[in-house]
């Protein structure tokens, strides 16, 4: 497994197993009550096709859930950019110069040229905890204790950050969960229809339809949000920041997902924007605490 210090708060550490349970239980019920029904009725191949599709999307859901939870979200190494090493005292340590506390504005390239009157610039910041000059769109996650590349958000349901290296798994998970829930509703409805709506002859189908109808909403709303945010070239974090800057009190109930004119990452096209975030290159794992090179003196693992 991963070797890293994860300060899991007690309140949320049961959430990932709960989600896992919520994925596994309907599949068990489906296998006992729906699969035998569909496979014994040879007159209907399309029902069997739906059952096959159910298992495919169920596997997609559970695999991408594990990938989102267990893979590296894009952790940046620590202590790459310390200022000075003070050797004067008995206790040697790194010193962060005053200049590193400033926000640095640098010229930036942008593919969008619709605001020629504006200077294209980028603000970069030094992470005092990690002692690194962070690339744009990276943020420090206090829960994980590291800076994450293209940080989207820290997800308490998977107990991991969602960032550059696992965003595609997260989106796949949402799509899988929506598809699986839809198939629960569809196959259950067909079953119910075949027994002429006599509920006592297919009680579990009713249960699965209700379950599918309940659990579909959360991933569906989340996915719609992510489609809108990526189309306007925003991560969840950037979107929430813009909302709080514009003092929108409740961005979930009153969403205003619009393009930000000053966003230098905007590629000027909804589809290109969406693909550039959902399909972003994962890039190499740059943390690899498992590689045995120089383990004892490895500054990347130190916290000061």
């Amino acid at each position: 497994g991963r070797l890293r210090t994860n300060k899991v708060s007690n309140g949320t550490k049961y959430l990932p197993p709960t989600v896992l349970f919520m994925i596994v239980v309907p599949c068990v019920l489906f296998s006992i009550f729906e699969t035998p029904y569909a496979t014994t009725r040879h007159d209907n191949r399309s029902l069997i096709a739906l059952v096959v599709l159910f298992y495919y999307f169920w596997l997609m859901t559970i695999i991408s859930f594990v990938q989102t939870a267990m893979s590296d979200p894009g952790m940046l190494p620590r202590n790459i950019h310390p200022g000075q090493w003070q050797t004067q005292n008995e206790f040697s340590s790194f010193i962060t110069p005053q200049d590193y506390y400033n926000i640095v504005t640098l010229p930036a390239h942008t593919s969008k040229k619709n605001h020629p009157e504006m200077n294209n610039s980028i603000d970069i910041k030094y992470c005092k905890t990690c002692k690194i000059w962070r690339p744009p769109r990276s943020y420090h996650c206090p829960t994980c204790g590291v800076c994450i590349q293209t940080h989207d958000h820290h997800c308490i349901w998977v107990n991991n950050c969602v960032g550059q290296r696992n965003y595609r798994y997260f989106i796949t998970f949402l799509m899988g969960a929506i598809s699986t829930s839809s198939l629960l509703i569809i196959t259950g409805s067909i079953h119910l229809h075949r027994v002429h709506g006599v509920t006592s002859r297919a009680p579990v189908s009713i249960l699965l339809i209700i379950y599918g109808g309940l659990v579909i909403w959360y991933p569906l709303i989340l996915l719609l949000y992510h489609i809108a945010m990526t189309a306007t070239q925003q991560t969840t974090r950037e979107y929430l920041k813009t909302m709080s800057d514009n003092s929108v009190k409740n961005p979930v109930m009153h969403p205003r997902i619009k393009r930000v004119p000053t966003n230098i990452f905007d590629r000027g096209n909804y589809v290109t924007n969406m693909f550039s975030l959902m399909g972003q290159v994962r890039g190499p794992n740059v943390w690899s605490p498992r590689d045995k090179v120089n383990q004892t003196g490895d500054w990347r693992l130190q916290e000061w």
């Binding site: 991408s64 000075q84 390239h109 690194i132 690339p135 890039g283």
Partner: protein, 233 residues
């Protein structure tokens, strides 16, 4: 200070256009002058501040010889070229648009003062010890090649990424899993190029080494250089 126009504020003040500079460097005013070591450290004005252009070698452990004998010169990311994935500055330190310049030293690093805090020698300008080993053209050629290899690794429309993305999703991660164990995934043109540079006679002769980018997390391009010092310092 630190807003990209630190080099010549009077010239740049009429426009807000930020200029590129190496954001790793900072200034130090309390130091021992090279010409008068016996007089000890004293406070200097901003005009005569030392520019910190080399840093501790955090790729070596505290008890190693490398820690004692080498320093790191950090090359910044060049956001004016690319913002979506790494790209490093092709300016040899000291030649950036907003570099701190000094007429007496010009484009070669000179030890002009010793900071008692860390016992290191620095100069009055953004020119780093790298200037002793590379000409601006040689430097530019190396970095531009590295930038090109990074682009191949990170380009979103590359065949590798498109195939990995689509097959990765449809085979439920099986493709990604198999690929990660294959030889193609483990070999990297970028790593190979850096290894080749480090083994080249030019690098070996000067004792210069490039730190592999996976170690620095692509945050900066780090050159390991011999510790700069003056005789008797």
């Amino acid at each position: 200070q630190g807003d990209g126009v630190e080099a010549d504020q009077s010239v740049e003040s009429e426009s807000d256009i930020p200029l590129f500079f190496n954001y790793h460097e900072f200034q130090e005013t309390y130091y021992i002058e090279a010409g008068s070591i016996d007089q000890g450290a004293k406070e200097h004005d901003q005009e005569h501040a030392l520019v910190i252009t080399h840093f501790p070698n955090i790729y070596a452990s505290l008890d190693s010889t490398e820690w004692e004998t080498t320093r790191i010169v950090r090359i910044s990311r060049a956001y004016d070229k690319r913002v979506n994935y790494p790209c490093f500055s092709e300016y040899i330190p000291g030649s950036e648009p907003a570099a701190i310049v000094n007429d007496t030293t010009k484009d070669k690093f000179v030890c002009q003062g010793k900071v008692p805090r860390d016992g290191q020698w620095y100069g009055y300008s953004s020119v780093s010890p790298l200037s002793l080993y590379f000409t601006p053209t040689q430097f530019q050629e190396i970095i531009s090649k590295i930038n090109q290899l990074i682009e191949e690794e990170y380009k979103i429309g590359s065949l590798t990424n498109i195939v990995d993305l689509s097959l990765g999703v449809f085979t439920l991660g099986l493709y990604t899993w198999i690929r990660s164990r294959s030889a193609i995934a483990k070999s990297s043109k970028l790593d190979d190029y850096i290894i080749q540079l480090n083994n080249s006679p030019d690098f070996k002769r000067c004792g210069v080494m490039l730190i592999p980018l996976t170690r620095s997390g692509y945050l900066s391009l780090d050159f390991q250089v011999p510790i700069p010092s003056v005789l008797g310092g």
